[in-house]
Symmetry: none
């Protein structure tokens, strides 16, 4: 039941937004009563928090695997991180959209937690880039911090326009992003 509530909430929050989704909407979708909702969660915000946590923890897990794999080059790692961020398979895609859009509706504490975790992704990208700069995979003169934010922006923004049934798959999109970021768009 807790699971079912979560899934329903992800759908609704993604579709209508957190503020615009009422408890009534949620319990109607599930054909249960309000009491049931409050038996499992103590507030609407708690549901949001759980969604955030599930999403970001999944991400961080993936990320750690990538970072710890000693066999990979830094470019491979960067590719892996970009793919991870762009990947849009349900239900992670919906969670991702909720994550990026509804961060502000978390309570003070939960927001700090979410931000801190979100930052780990940024830091990971930045570290990979810096490591690549040091071992010659990347140009030594790039501004790693800003480039990182640029890459993050490109990836996170994809949740705003990406359509799974569209012209390109999520993998193709990440490939293009990686190519753009690594080779640039001007001819050599």
């Amino acid at each position: 039941m807790k699971e079912k509530i979560l899934v329903t909430c992800i759908q609704l929050f993604e579709h209508k937004g957190f503020s615009e989704t009422s408890i009534q909407d949620i319990v109607d979708s599930l054909a249960v009563t309000k009491g049931t909702f409050y038996y499992y969660f103590k507030s609407k915000e708690e549901v949001l928090m759980v969604i955030h946590r599930m999403y970001i923890d999944t991400l961080l897990e993936q990320q750690n695997k990538l970072l710890e794999d000693g066999a990979l080059t830094n470019k491979d790692r960067l590719r892996g991180l970009v793919e991870m961020l762009v990947t849009n398979i349900t239900p992670l895609g919906k969670s991702a959209r909720v994550f990026h859009r509804e961060l502000r509706h978390l309570s003070e504490d939960h927001m700090k937690e979410a931000r801190a975790k979100r930052d780990q992704v940024r830091v990971a990208i930045e570290k990979v880039i810096v490591a690549g700069m040091e071992n010659g995979e990347f140009r030594p003169d790039v501004k790693a911090d800003i480039v990182t934010l640029g890459i993050l922006g490109a990836c996170n923004w994809s949740y705003q326009w990406f359509k799974p049934e569209g012209k390109y798959s999520d993998l193709e999109v990440s490939e293009v992003f990686i190519d753009m970021v690594c080779q640039g768009i001007t001819p050599k």
Copy 2:
């Protein structure tokens, strides 16, 4: 007064979000009464619409100047567009954040209008890239549509983290973005 209401609304919508800003909040900030608000605007949504329109129209105007200037190379134009998007001079920065975050709270009609205009920016970037591909300024094998969305993402996302008083100026940020996109981050 209409002007004052708008400015206040931009502040509040940016700070607390559209849904979370009540008419009461707005009129309290201005030390007027609700009646006054509704004398100038017929709904909260109308204010949002005006903010959107002001922002996007300003953008499109700048954009048109860039596109019509025959003396520029396509790379110059791209740089111009990126600079235009990243530029965060007050009060456009707040408007920009409101624009990107609260699009969904517009009414059906206004949303269509806003989306159509927003799309003009995307189309402009894409056209510049395609033109550059044709005249050899850019590689002939890039996927212009996705690259465009990547660039847009990097730029639009900057409203989430850019601080005018921070380490880099908005011009520096756009320079890094342009460099990243054009040269790539790998050495030649």
Copy 3:
């Protein structure tokens, strides 16, 4: 202008009802501003009162002519009163509907006045019937007071269904009413 406001108000009150008609509606219909309205009338209720007064005074005037005409039989007089009530010539028809429907929105004092005048019509009918009973024109055993209220009901109700462009004219309707009331519908 005062005249124009009145005419417009009759239209609007008749169409939407008094409570549902806002000052804004009124001034919009006239393409003037609220200030103008309040220059001529000191409240919405005052307009309603004037409409009531105009209608009922017109009625009472007609009624008095009928009653004072010594040449008429009581049956003639009754016919005259019924015709007077049913008559739906514009703009009296709309005023009549407003009169009957919106009485309750008058202020205490105005309501008393309106009720008193309205009562004069009832009393007049009753007197004509009693006079007819005394001189043999009407049956001596009718309950004049209730019959009066029945006749009034039939007439006043006609404003709810009568359509000038309908199958019968207002004169035909009153003829039928008079016939029904005088002869009854059973055969002799």
Copy 4:
């Protein structure tokens, strides 16, 4: 509770009118909170609709009994219908007044429904008269449609003046109406 809300609303709508009765008035009368009202009804209009439906359905039921009773003459039936309409036994009397006065505040759909049902009463009276004309109970030359509207008017109007504690009972009033309509007020 739903029952209690309905009873209270009938009182208030009858006394002050629908538009003039606020939700606050209603819940204050019941010593509950607004939330409670909206737990049972989803709008003020819904309450009005229920009141209309209860009243008119009760009426139509009574009416059908009358029409189906083969032992009655048409005059009996007409008497029955008039009695039914004039009868003012609590709480139907208040409902009746609300019904006739507040019809216009129903939503489009509910209004159509109410009007259709209200029309059934008119049609029933007309049919009884026509049937009486055919079997010789009533004069063959009466205009059944207008006479019907006259009778309806007399009856419906009674809700405006009838007082249960007054000089005449509701049964006496209907008797006078029937006598007036059938015999007429002129001597044979």
